[in-house]
Symmetry: C2
Subunit: 191 residues, 2 copies
């Protein structure tokens, strides 16, 4: 999506080791108008998958998931990383590596909000190694739900996540596709 | 706001000890249409405070803050509870008690996204003791920014947060005001 690519070119920073800093418009400060455009575009791309629910992981998945779910008229569920006191004792739980924390974190969903009738559209900010998204896939599958699509804002193809997700046989869409971050550059697929 | 009050009456659960379970539409599963209505109403109430930025805390503040900031045309900053690798070494940091975790947690903002020219509208899901919101106030004040308003979805008047916030001399608005949760009831101010 040209608006997102342009914004990454303008404000994104390559910190080295494949780390892309986008915290001025995506994951610390959020530009709601850009996020709304992204959500509308993801909603358009997944308009025909008959999803019943949008699934994401706290924290930085919440904004894109919410603004994708709004035009689709669907509820959002965000997997928690800490079990709140309001959640029942029996939950769906899996582990996924956290880039931020440098260790495994829990992803937790209450069985109250995901069940075998659900057709799940997974939305997240990044598709990198695919590990967080695969955690969400496992949670949905444990609930007996069906994955019908996976959408992200930014994909880093050099981390291989797409290969991992393609085994699922569902559409995988990313709005900005980065093929390389070598030598302080940010190279996009369409450039 | 009658739509939010009606939804709490329908789907909110009083778990005792002042704990209100709203995780089917606010803070685990989110109803984007209801959240959009709430955001529009908060935006309307704060249309005249000349805010330059909406400030909230991860995690459950993100959805209401985003949908308040969108109609206002303002950026959102959400305070992080864990410092990501993309954040500079020097940050604004304070401590606030977490109901979910039962201990103090850090609230962290990068100086890149909050400065002395900012007029800050704080938005969060709950106004209870006011402790998290006062943490956000301290962060904004440390940055030299000015608080111009505080808005929340749900206020529990019996936890006294409003008294704490009124010393700031700014408008404090809540869309659903709960005055008592005694005896398994949920009593609203307007009922």
């Amino acid at each position: 999506m040209k608006e997102l690519v342009a914004r990454i070119r303008q404000d994104g920073k390559n910190l080295g080791n494949g780390i892309l800093k986008v915290d001025s418009f995506i994951n610390h400060q959020v530009d709601p108008e850009l996020m709304d455009l992204c959500g509308q575009e993801l909603a358009r791309r997944f308009a025909n998958v008959d999803a019943t629910k949008v699934l994401t992981a706290e924290i930085s998945g919440i904004a894109p998931a919410l603004l994708t779910a709004l035009p689709l008229g669907l509820p959002v569920v965000y997997a928690r990383k800490t079990k709140p006191v309001t959640m029942p004792d029996q939950v769906y739980l899996t582990l996924a590596p956290s880039h931020t924390k440098g260790r495994m974190v829990e992803l937790i969903i209450s069985p109250e909000h995901l069940d075998e009738g659900d057709r799940v559209l997974i939305i997240d900010d990044f598709l990198a190694s695919g590990a967080t998204i695969m955690g969400l896939v496992r949670l949905a599958q444990t609930a007996g739900a069906r994955i019908v699509g996976i959408g992200t804002l930014i994909e880093k193809t050099f981390e291989g996540g797409r290969d991992l997700l393609e085994q699922l046989g569902v559409p995988v869409e990313s709005l900005a596709v980065i093929t390389s971050m070598d030598e302080d550059q940010i190279t996009f697929a369409d450039s």
